[in-house]
Amino acid sequence: MDLTIGPIPFFWPAEQVRAFYRMIATTPARRVVIGEAVCSKRLPFWQHEIPGAIDCLLAAGKDVALSTLILITLKRERRQTADLFAAGLPVEIADMGALRHLPEGAPFHVGPTVNVYNEGTLQWLAKKGATRICLPPELPLASVAVLARAGREAGVAVEVWGHGRAPLAISGRCYHARLHDRAKDSCQFVCGEDPDGRDVETLDGKSFLTVNGVQTLGHAHTTAAGRITDLSDAGVNALRLSPQVGDFASVVALYDQIAQGATTRAEGLARLQELMPRATFADGFLAGEPGLRRAG
């Protein structure tokens, strides 16, 4: 199993993005997905960093793919999606509509927000040219195993959500703006004030969700660290790590060891907790339980 770094889900300043990808270039990650997946309003603030980041990552021997938006509605967003396919790198579709712009016969990747729940869907996407699919985080291990087998037969590499705040929902409405009594159009980019998202607790003070603009994430970090043997036995090809603030280089290094089987399950989870002392970890989805639960 190798490692894929997903797109940065949060709204980070351009210099933070630059530093992040320079750091990623030095990690053992095999590939990196770059692009604004959450909100097209953010893109003008950091898109000038993308070419440099790509060069830096390619020079370090990483594979690079470009992500589309998760929810494409505006004309401008559709044009931007079409432009991605002309950039000469594989595109990871995060919304089915993106496929309409796929040049005939071009290979593409499929992100975790596209609904691939079964073999039929995987096979249809493979026929269209999909070569890599990151499965939706809510899938239980039994489904992952069936899909990994179907992927092997169809020549599609299958990825599983390995680490990070899982994408749970996308909306037309911006919840960050709503928290500031603003509408999406007049958001004043308040999501940029929370580089790791804004926490949302239940009324009895339990950590629950994280608001990230139009996107809602889980608050606990969904991790596959406790399930590596199962995933490996199932034939899963890669783990997806989702960027966050903090010592992400060490997180990547740790998952590399975990993926190589160089640490035991208990050791891996313990070291993860050491690296992120304030974080809570969850893996209920893989166990077929509530996603925020820690099962493994």
């Binding site: 998760i70 929810l71 494409i72 509605t73 004309k75 559709r78 919304d95 089915m96 509509g97 993106a98 496929l99 309409r100 712009h101 927000t113 609904n115 729940y117 079964n118 073999e119 039929g120 869907t121 995987l122 096979q123 249809w124 996407l125 939706p136 985080p137 809510e138 039994a142 489904s143 069936v146 899909l147 899982a166 749970l168 929902a169 996308i170 909306s171 037309g172 409405r173 911006c174 709503r178 928290l179 509408a183 159009d185 308040v190 804004r198 926490d199 949302v200 607790e201 239940t202 009324l203 339990k206 629950f208 969700l209 608001v211 809602t216 209920g284 339980e289 509530p290 996603g291 925020l292």
Partner: protein
């Protein structure tokens, strides 16, 4: 006249909807193949065939929703549902999963296919992709679009559009939401349920009424005040203070409201919308009859260019606030 598509969770509700003037009724089989997989709801195979016959005899159509995402390794259950809907004489099936749509298009070439709202096709590219690849004839639009955006979409597509006008309101893009499974392990996509009643608990604590979902407290109202059903995205939460923002407690995603786009019916007609959909397969036949009758009057008025009858559904929304949702841009 715009087509009125009405919910039926039971054969009795189907007959009530047809009798009240529904042009079409949508319903599902009593299993995990449909997105209202609630106990005591939905149709057996013989009930479906009888429902189709009743609707046909009264000039109405039956649309069968098979709109969850088939479980890996168990696709046969969903394939059988499509075959049985076809055999029962359904006017169309409403599907969400690409694999299932591909199967239906290939195996049942004569069967009319509608794209479920659960497929979240929110732009002309996605809609044209499904239309081109599978011959989809109608798309149910996700509730993330404004009327202007719906107008623009209709200019760029050749298939019919259907939009929700009344009932429960998803505030997230439908079919792309795992909030329910995050808290309960059961999701609309996989299990056909959202914030299921099996995971809801009410209690009276220190003079307050509390509602929990999956053990998580998301509603608290003073004793005597009604406590809303704890649907996750309409729950009450706290966003703790950050270095730039004070703490806030409230309905961070959406208030416990329902959708009522009655006033927008003329605009939706002008936007080129073919069909109006009423949510509520879990509702009683009395409710269904009342709502269908009111909306039939509304689409007839719209057809004649007459104003929308006022206070149409005041009784049904009494004590509950309603919103026009994403159809108005300010909602975002």
């Amino acid at each position: 006249m715009m087509e009125l598509v009405c919910p039926a969770g039971t054969p009795a509700a189907l007959r009530a909807a047809v009798d009240a003037g529904a042009h079409a009724v949508y319903c599902g089989f009593a299993d995990e193949t449909n997105a209202r997989n609630f106990p005591g709801l939905n149709f057996s195979r013989p009930e479906m065939a009888e429902g189709v016959a009743y609707a046909r005899a009264h000039g109405a159509k039956v649309l069968v929703a098979i709109n969850t995402f088939p479980r890996a390794g168990d696709q046969a259950i969903w394939h059988r549902a499509v075959a049985d809907a076809h055999a029962a004489g359904a006017h169309a099936v409403i599907l969400a999963d690409i694999g299932l749509i591909a199967h239906a298009a290939e195996t049942h070439p004569g069967l009319r296919l509608h794209l479920s709202v659960q497929a979240a096709a929110a732009n002309p590219d996605a809609i044209n992709l499904y239309a081109g690849a599978f011959g989809i004839r109608r798309v149910v639009l996700p509730r993330v679009l404004t009327v202007e955006e719906i107008t623009a979409i209709n200019r760029e597509i050749d298939i019919e559009t259907e939009v929700f006008v009344f009932g429960g309101l998803c505030v997230m893009a439908e079919g792309r939401c795992s909030l329910s499974s995050w808290a309960t392990g059961l999701s609309p996509n996989m299990n056909g349920v959202c914030s299921p009643a099996s995971h809801v608990a009410y209690a009276e604590v220190a003079g307050n009424n509390e509602a929990r979902l999956g053990g998580y407290l998301i509603h608290r109202t003073p004793k005597g005040a009604p406590v809303p059903y704890p649907t996750l995205c309409k729950g009450c939460f706290t966003a703790p203070a950050t270095h730039t923002s004070p703490a806030q407690t409230g309905h961070i995603f959406e208030d416990p409201v329902s959708l009522d786009a009655t006033e927008l019916i003329p605009k939706l007609q002008k936007a080129g919308v073919t069909a109006l959909k009423i949510e509520g397969r879990q509702r009683s036949r009395a409710y269904v009859a009342q709502v269908v009758r009111a909306f039939r009057a509304a689409v007839e008025a719209a057809d004649m260019g007459a104003p929308m009858p006022a206070g149409l559904l005041a009784k049904l929304t009494e004590g509950q606030s309603a919103t026009t949702g994403a159809y108005a841009k300010t909602w975002r």
